[in-house]
């Protein structure tokens, strides 16, 4: 099979790039070795959460210019503000095509509630996590009920409530907690006290008795205005389920992210994959690209673990293999490597310099910023230092940014995925991109 572009890695960066390319008519294949990091995410999309790890950013677009100036090697600086803004609009529109609605607070960040009851600034959240109704309710010092499902062990309402109350935003809000028993749980062969989000999600997806659930919620929430529920209200019918429960109970219902697996993240993952498939993209799951041939500053071909004899050729390649956790980089006691092509990396020498003395150190850890060195086109450098012109690197495999500390993880994935896609489309179709010539 002939492809215009082969993308290595099917996470948020790879999929964004794949959707951009297929949407513009390119033949595209994504080779994905495992689960997307979205399954471990909040399911919200961060653009820029904080500057220098301390100051919460109010208006990320307004801050971006200065941020880019201060961080010339940052992936955002390679994309440029225009591409970043386009990438975010593009992403929002593409997942909306799959009925997944992302809301932003205009051009401002909003806070989403974390599982532990802290607040994190983010840019896009799913409708069930942030919307105008929830926002406006806060002006009225709402009474909040946090309700769990009996036995779900990956959410603890009391712990969340205690931490929420410490926050100025929730000062003066009454927060009550409780849990309901899911109807029909006796039919479930699994010990209901070992439920994880995905188990409860499956029950919601298999048409449970929503009337009963609604009345049980009401019996605990009483006269609350807002009811927070861990995010497990279905993977397929979540819009309908939320709507029904809202109508039946009259509460403003919102979902709170949980420990992984993240249902909110899985919804995003599903929407992206479905959108990509709808546009005609090929997704090869369960295989891993283990190597490739680099010749004269170009990737000639790549090959995979399952079919090491089969050479896969394409004019353009994208490396979206993620960070250490996803296998995009591997480390031993002395060094760090990029395992597919042996690309040049940017990282600190000496493993004592990979981390901080404290785990929750305010300056975060250096290893989170390690990654592949690229030029402004996201082209990396090969083992002998030569620039590789037909390989683009996107997402967490890139160096020079700390996704956790800056609150830029999904933003960089989307922006670099989109920027790589834009350049590949331009190369393949001769289209002209406006800002990077």
């Amino acid at each position: 099979m002939n492809y215009d572009c082969i993308i290595i890695g099917g996470g948020i960066a790879g999929l964004t790039c794949g959707i951009k390319c297929t949407g513009e008519g390119l033949r595209c294949a994504i080779i994905s070795s495992g689960m997307s990091a979205l399954h471990f995410s909040s399911g919200s999309i961060d653009l820029l959460g904080s500057r220098s790890g301390q100051n919460v950013v109010k208006e990320p677009y307004a801050e971006l210019g200065r941020f880019i100036e201060e961080n010339p090697g940052h992936p955002y600086s390679k994309c440029g503000q225009d591409i970043i803004q386009k990438a975010f609009s593009f992403f929002q529109a593409e997942v909306r095509a799959q009925a997944l609605v992302l809301f932003s607070n205009g051009d401002k960040n909003h806070f989403h509630v974390t599982p532990i009851g802290t607040l994190k600034p983010t840019f896009f959240s799913q409708k069930s996590v942030f919307n105008k109704k929830i926002r406006d309710a806060f002006y009225r010092k709402p009474k909040i009920a946090i309700i769990n499902i009996e036995g779900f062990r990956d959410y603890y309402p009391k712990m969340a409530a205690v931490n929420l109350k410490k926050n100025r935003l929730f000062k003066g809000c009454e927060i009550i907690t409780g849990s309901i028993v899911l109807p029909g749980e006796k039919l479930n062969p699994k010990n209901p006290h070992e439920f994880r989000s995905i188990d409860i999600c499956r029950i919601f997806d298999s048409k449970p008795d929503l009337d009963k659930i609604a009345s049980r919620i009401s019996s605990i929430a009483g006269n609350a205005d807002i009811v927070g529920i861990p995010a497990f209200l279905g993977l397929n019918n979540y819009n309908a389920i939320l709507k029904s429960l809202r109508e039946m109970t009259g509460y403003i219902l919102y979902e709170i992210p949980t420990l992984p697996p993240s249902i909110l993240g899985m919804r995003l993952d599903n929407a992206l994959k479905a959108r990509y498939a709808e546009l005609g993209g090929v997704f090869i799951a369960g295989d891993r690209v283990i190597g490739g041939k680099i010749l004269n500053g170009r990737v000639e071909y790549i090959y995979t673990e399952n079919h090491p004899e089969t050479r896969l050729y394409a004019p353009s390649y994208v490396l979206s293999t993620g960070s250490f956790f996803s296998g995009g980089m591997i480390s031993d006691a002395e060094k760090i490597q990029e395992p597919v092509f042996g690309l040049c990396l940017e990282y600190a020498k000496g493993r004592q310099n990979w981390h901080r003395p404290a785990f929750f150190h305010p300056q975060s850890h250096p290893f989170l910023s390690f990654g592949v060195k690229t030029d402004e086109h996201l082209n990396p450098y090969g083992p002998s230092g030569e620039r590789i012109g037909n390989l683009f690197c996107t997402g967490a495999v890139l160096s020079n940014y700390n996704p956790v500390q800056e609150g830029t993880g999904s933003g960089v994935a989307i922006s670099t995925g989109f920027w790589a896609g834009t350049q590949i489309v331009q190369k393949e179709t001769g289209q002209h991109t406006r800002n990077h010539d």
Partner: protein, 556 residues
């Protein structure tokens, strides 16, 4: 100020201190034990968990070897649920002195340790992962012992028989009447409460910290702290203890324990001022991995979980100051005799293996001071949980309906006490920690009966967070579970998680590469990326800083 009166105060909640508490109570003596941190949080919980046969000392120190084998036999009876009777091997590598194993056989004979030479083929049959190039192999009655369980079982018995325990409570100063110690003043860090305890005898069983305790009493007791470091690998790659048959040196033993294996041990002299901040050095990790691989080659292919170190409480008895050359013998000091300070005893030196003997010796002296004429029974009366020998098979039958794996691990950790934990209520056997199969019921039992104040304490009682994920999922669950069930823990839940990971982090830093790095990146994503836990910045345990929330801007 609150004032407590008792017969004996014991300072230190390690194996020795808890052992003394139990021995005293069994002889009808009232005790109060004061521990500055948690049970087994010092040297007791920081060794390789070897149930010595004594063979490791048989060549150089027959006396220690005899003590070991005697205690080995006793502990196999009274502490069944803390012990795995795995057996042990001594193997000679081609590069080792081939004559040493003869000396070892002779030494074992002298110390009455059952040591037998077997063929290399048989050794490989017993332990298939062994280096196949070994030239000699001996079997010895080594085993493994869980020091956390051991200390908990000792104090549990003491408390159930009327003793009193204060953990997270530090001795601030001694109460004296001229040259007699009449008690101590303590501060409870968690309740933020200061109180006085008066007693007829005060026992300093604080191990390497004993030098400081003595100093508080105006007495000099010189310690030569020797650091021993170990690396834990993420699989149980051996089923019997594997020793290298040579003069004891770094990296010459691999001990299986629960779900993991440990490579031990180094010996490095450190200055006394550093005992609370000792860390594993890179060269120690290197030598442990290099020499560990020589014993069991697939060490190098196995993921490392963490590295940690303990400080041996060696007391200076002679001029020599090297860690391995100072006697590991037991040092019992009657300060009335030595320093003219009445009502004060120190017990130090020794080994985890001889904790019971040390407790017996100390209690004998306490009895002499109190004019009590009662013999020690700790060698006969089993610890709670070890009352009966009962097979896992029997337990599984007894608790049919509950998943086998849960019955098995609960029984493994708590012995006969499993019947207080396992209930056929599905809620009670919902899992909190999948890696180590710790259930909600076991967590509740530990909170209610095993003196647990936070999830670090909980880890020592149940193994929550000790498995491959190092708490990535279960730290949140365990803290949440505590918060849901105990109102007092609600406020602390987030801080407990922070403290837990800062404590885990200490052991991960020395081996921070490969899979350990991957795992911690995942943990960091969840707890910092997803939870923003570090935004609730607090100091670590003991730093006194409370949890503060970042000043949120109203952004809606």
């Amino acid at each position: 100020m609150k004032r407590i009166e008792t017969d004996v105060i014991i300072i230190g909640g390690g194996a020795t201190g808890t052992g003394i508490a139990r021995d005293c109570v069994l002889r009808g003596i009232q005790v109060v034990l004061v521990e500055k941190d948690d049970l087994a949080s010092g040297t007791t919980g920081r060794n390789h968990g070897l149930l010595h046969s004594g063979a490791r000392y048989a060549v150089q120190d027959v006396e220690s070897a005899s003590e070991c084998i005697n205690e080995n036999r006793i502990l196999k009876k009274i502490a069944r649920h803390c012990i795995e009777d795995t057996g042990g091997l001594f193997v000679t590598l081609p590069e080792d002195d081939p004559e040493y194993h003869h000396a070892l056989i002779q030494g074992c004979k002298k110390a009455d340790i059952n040591c037998r030479e077997i063929s290399v083929t048989d050794a490989l049959r017993i332990e298939p992962n062994l280096n196949p190039t070994i030239i000699h192999a001996l079997t010895v009655p080594d085993g493994t012992i869980d020091p956390f369980r051991l200390a908990a079982a000792n104090i549990l018995d003491a408390v159930e028989r009327g003793g009193t325990l204060f953990t997270h409570t530090k001795v601030t100063h001694f109460l004296r009447n001229q040259n007699t110690i009449i008690g101590v003043c303590c501060h409870d860090r968690l309740k933020k409460e200061t109180f006085e305890i008066y007693a007829k005898v005060v026992v300093n069983a604080s191990g390497v910290w004993g030098q400081n305790i003595c100093k508080q009493a105006g007495i000099e007791l010189k310690m030569f702290p020797s650091k021993g470091s170990m690396v834990i690998i993420d699989y149980r790659i051996n089923n019997v203890v594997v020793n290298r048959c040579r003069k004891p040196a770094d990296g010459d033993i691999i001990v299986p324990g629960d779900t993991v294996s440990l490579i031990g041990t180094t010996s490095k002299k450190i200055s006394y001022e550093k005992i609370d901040e000792a860390v594993v050095d890179d060269d120690e990790v290197e030598v442990l991995l290099k020499d560990g691989e020589k014993l069991i080659p697939n060490v190098s292919k196995t993921r490392m979980l963490r590295a940690y170190c303990g400080i041996r409480p060696l007391v200076a008895v002679s001029g020599k100051m090297d860690g391995r050359d100072i006697s590991r013998g037991i040092v019992r000091v009657d300060h009335e005799e030595r320093d003219g300070v009445k009502g004060f005893i120190s017990i130090a030196g020794g080994k985890l293996m001889t904790y019971r003997l040390m407790a017996e010796m100390t209690t004998d002296l306490v009895c002499a001071k109190l004019n009590i004429n009662k013999a020690c029974t700790t060698h006969q009366i089993p610890l709670p949980g070890s009352e009966q020998k009962s097979s896992e098979h029997k337990q599984i039958k007894r608790f049919s309906g509950i998943p086998k794996s849960i019955v098995g691990s609960t029984h493994f950790r708590h012995g006969e006490r499993a019947h207080r934990i396992l209930q056929k209520d599905r809620k009670s056997y919902g899992l909190i920690c999948e890696c180590e199969m710790v259930t909600a019921g076991e967590v509740d039992y530990a909170i209610n009966h095993l003196f647990v104040n936070d999830i670090i304490d909980l880890r020592r009682r149940t193994r929550v967070g000790m498995g491959p994920c190092q708490g990535a999922l279960c730290a949140y669950r365990a803290a949440g579970h505590m918060a849901q069930h105990e109102a007092t823990h609600e406020e602390d839940a987030a801080k407990m998680i922070i403290d837990f990971f800062e404590e885990r982090w200490k052991g991960i830093k020395p081996i921070f590469w490969g899979d350990a790095l991957r795992e911690m990146e995942f943990t960091y994503w969840i707890y910092q990326g997803l939870f923003g836990l570090g935004n609730l910045i607090s100091g670590s345990r003991g730093s006194g800083k409370g949890v503060e929330t970042i000043d949120e801007i109203r952004n809606f």
